[in-house]
Subunit: 326 residues, 2 copies
DNA sequence: AGGTTATGTGTAACCGGTTACACATACTAT
DNA sequence: ATAGTATGTGTAACCGGTTACACATAACCT
């Protein structure tokens, strides 16, 4: 392996000059620069990032902490983070936290020892006291940790308004809202949006709390649909819940969308594969991940970050679970 | 930050002794061991992995190279790899290769500089010349790179036999087999299994090559179903293709499963959410990832690895797209 | 007793970079 | 002319570990 000393010798300068040139720090004459460039070229020298890390106490590692990569929301996020990180020369470490603060903390400690450059943190938990004291650059997704930590999130409230209005415009007179877990920021914002939009109408509605879980949702919706056959619209706070609702409707022989219209929230790929295709409020998950990563890297590299709160617009996607507006 | 020198001073021994004790290498007296243990405890000393890496040229990093984490097959794999890696003290780096050998190679080069301990490689490509010369421990998933590299894969052929027989037992007399891309090992094994099982029957069949892609599959199946209305069974080489087939059937008003039965392959979570639920040959993806990781870690730690070819059994899961056996 | 081998420990070089500091020269300002 | 600043470079310490080697003592042979 060629080292900086080999390069220095070949270029006829000291290692300090080589290092300065390579890092663009300090003064280096044109002659020296040329000699070093040539030596690097000829020796195919590549800097050893471990040696560098050891004394700079920095690295090009980014930690991506998420509850569970298996949850259909996260792969696309991970993909975006990885793409952007790669393009800036960073490497992504995958951390499944399972919503367990201990596990999360453990990851942070372990990776700090490796001089990790920063973290992107996605979690459903509202509180995260152990982040507060970390001096590392962090960007949060979908949850506010504290004022100093930038947050990237979808425009959940607006999305919920959009979805609710879509059902209203399509003639729903009795809407079931599947509210997400109350511990989740995004779920609460969606709830607020629903309430705002439904409040402006004179339509009947009912709210049921429902985890973002397929089988649970199916069970809950089956029960609700049986108890209240007048329901002609369901707005689910997640696509997975919507899938459960759709299944429940199928089992009960309800005709979607003629009889019952359904809108989900998230925009995961699966929605398209359902029959009928799931209408949904799609989040631009890729964009969320990409923006979060760009902000993180700016922070890592001490570049100015304009804002600390980024809201990504959502989009209504109409498929088969809703009718066209009459 | 406390260093090994602090510990040595506190314990009244040399750094060499501390290092030896910490690594279980060389001789350390009981007295010295005790003194070091106490000093470590009191100072809350934690070894710096970067400094260690620098001269051992090893690390506890594992690279997971996969085509695209967004593909529903991979998150569960990644999850398994991460779980097992974590339990052995390793950290996982996520690498989306997009099937691009250049990108793959680039990752390998980059991570080698960080003294990565080993790689788990999943790829759809059959050839991978650039792995051959790597001295790093590697474990492959679903593809054989060379004799020295262990492979973990599902029992694809047996699965295909299982699926084909399931359709036959349920009365199918005209089966459409959606064959996966010919460049893929697993797809070819599935094809072999189908041929073997179908050959033993006197049933009509037709084979169409179909990418593991939802929309494409839908189009292809729609065409096939129109051209040949007698088809009463579809065996798809992947669940995503099966989902496309199911959608096509729904659009054409075919009744699944009374009229047309469908079996997929993979066992991804989405299958359950479809209506009717997708019958499938489920791979134990988690197990594949877990086993691959364990083997890799054994290799990294120079422990003996029994075999070099691991086949994970598959399982027939019957849901709504197949009838019960009459 | 004398030679081997096993046990135990410390010194110092080394891994491959970065950077504080000292020093030299050239240019600018007064 | 002289001080002050900008430019350019090298030496050597340092980051925080590992380990070769030298040396010392204890245990085991014959």
């Amino acid at each position: 392996m060629t080292t900086i000393r080999d390069v220095a010798k070949k270029a006829g300068v000291s290692v300090a000059t080589v290092s300065r040139f390579l890092n663009g720090s300090g003064y280096v004459s044109a002659d020296a620069a040329k000699a070093v460039t040539e030596a690097v070229e000829e020796l195919e020298y590549e800097l050893n990032p471990v040696a560098r890390s050891l004394n700079t106490k920095r690295s090009s590692l980014i930690g991506l902490i998420l509850p569970d990569i298996t949850n259909p929301f996260f792969p696309e996020l991970a993909r975006a983070v990885e793409d952007v990180a790669l393009s800036y020369g960073y490497t992504v470490i995958l951390c499944n936290s399972d919503e367990d603060p201990k596990k999360e903390k453990n990851y942070i400690e372990t990776l700090k020892k490796k001089y990790i450059a920063g973290f992107i943190v996605t979690s459903n938990q509202l509180d995260a006291p152990h982040y507060a004291d970390t001096k590392l650059p962090i960007v949060a997704l979908d949850r506010a940790i504290n004022e100093k930590i930038p947050v990237v999130s979808s425009n959940n409230k607006e999305g919920a308004v959009l979805g609710t209005n879509a059902l209203l415009e399509r003639g729903c007179r009795n809407i079931l809202f599947l509210r997400g877990p109350e511990a989740l920021n995004p779920a609460n914002d969606r709830y607020d949006g629903f309430m705002e939009a439904i409040g402006k109408s004179d339509v009947d509605y009912r709210i049921v709390t429902c985890p973002f879980h397929y089988a649970d949702s199916q069970k809950i919706v089956k029960r609700e649909l049986k108890a209240n056959p007048a329901i002609d619209g369901i707005f689910a706070s997640s696509d997975v819940s919507a899938a459960g609702a759709l299944k429940a409707a199928a089992i009960l022989g309800r005709n979607v969308p003629d009889d019952l219209q359904i809108i989900g929230f998230d925009g995961i790929a699966m929605g398209e594969m359902l029959s009928p295709g799931l209408s949904t409020i799609a989040q631009d998950v890729y964009k969320m991940g990409a923006i979060a990563t760009r902000i993180l890297i700016k922070r890592i590299e001490n570049k100015p970050v304009e804002e600390s709160f980024y809201e990504i617009p959502v989009k209504l996607i109409l498929r088969g679970t809703t009718r066209s507006v009459e």
